[in-house]
Symmetry: C2
Subunit: 176 residues, 2 copies
DNA sequence: TGACAGATACACAAATTTGAATAAAAACTT
DNA sequence: AAGTTTTTATTCAAATTTGTGTATCTGTCA
């Protein structure tokens, strides 16, 4: 989808890379936590955008590696799509909303157990993100990448707050 | 994906429906704000699960309509997958994270303008969700569906809070 | 009544995503 | 140095998602 294309173009802004390295960088930025960056998606996207002239294939002989270099058209496309990502509010796809939708289909006991277990996991995940931010995410990620971690943590915190409230309401029979 | 399947199975728990009506219900629950529920996804998912024995096709003659009825295997699958949605924390796919990742590629002026415009839109969206909850979402949606709206609002609020903070930091040159 | 907008109902090609498989090169082990 | 594991690098079929196209039905207003 559009997001994947922005990510690929964005990674290639500062110089050509091959598919595997592209994926490495995205993983370093934690993109696997909020985007579709499986290898198949990467290689498909690179190939497609090369066909469309947004990227240029640079063969590298050695062991079949192919470098992809962004073209001028690619840079223009990147900026346009990046702008639309800033200006347009697009749906946040969240599997937990599916769980919520059918909370009435679990027994109160199962529901409470699931909520408590989830709360524990969420606290752990949030704490881990906090430590990652402290540790400056080490590697070679630019400073503003921390912001994605912060936002991610805030989203998980929103979910945790909802759950902590909901546990009480389920206990008092106010939910579902 | 797995979430779509849970949604389809869940909608069919209380009786057979045809594809269009399935989509109507999901839209009524606001699922288009946090899941992939385009018509193509619905019809494909229904057909596939029918082939797999999770649903049973019931022809209805009139104008080519096909009703889908959940099977016992389908109910089992629903419960199993619903549980996994409660117990496992799966990535929240958020296009705005892509925007954040490349905030350093916009001029400070463009960035500030985009953030301010987005903040306005977010406040409007959050208020609209609030009103939808007040209005009990009218139609025929069960009461606990409000919770999905609340969680959605909380996620948008988390984003708004981040932006309000970030506008200041960009202004002071602390970001990016 | 008939014409036309809108709602109902589905189908389909193209694009994307998933998940696993493959194979070569590098690093380690004994 | 031969064997084993790990990392690098890509490919592929199958599943899913998107976006749009088509046909039928229903209400309504002149």
């Amino acid at each position: 989808m559009s997001s994947t294309r922005v990510l690929l173009l964005g990674v290639l802004l500062d110089g050509p890379l091959h598919g595997y390295e592209v994926r490495r960088r995205l993983e370093m930025w934690g993109a696997d936590a909020w985007a579709n960056v499986a290898y198949g998606s990467i290689y498909h996207g690179l190939g497609k955008m090369a066909d469309e002239g947004l990227l240029h294939r640079v063969e590298e002989g050695k062991g079949g590696r192919t470098l992809y270099e962004i073209t001028e058209a690619g840079r223009a496309e990147f900026l346009a799509r990046l702008m639309s990502h800033w200006w347009e509010i697009k749906p946040i796809v969240d599997p937990f909303q599916v769980a919520l939708t059918f909370m009435d289909r679990l027994s109160p006991a199962d529901l409470t157990a699931a909520m408590k277990a989830r709360a524990v996991q969420l606290r752990a995940a949030i704490e881990m993100l906090g430590r990652a931010i402290e540790a400056k995410r080490g590697h070679g990620a630019p400073r503003h990448i921390d912001e994605t971690l912060r936002l991610n943590a805030a989203q998980l915190q929103a979910q945790l707050t909802w759950i902590e409230d909901a546990v009480g309401r389920v206990g008092r029979g106010e939910l579902p």
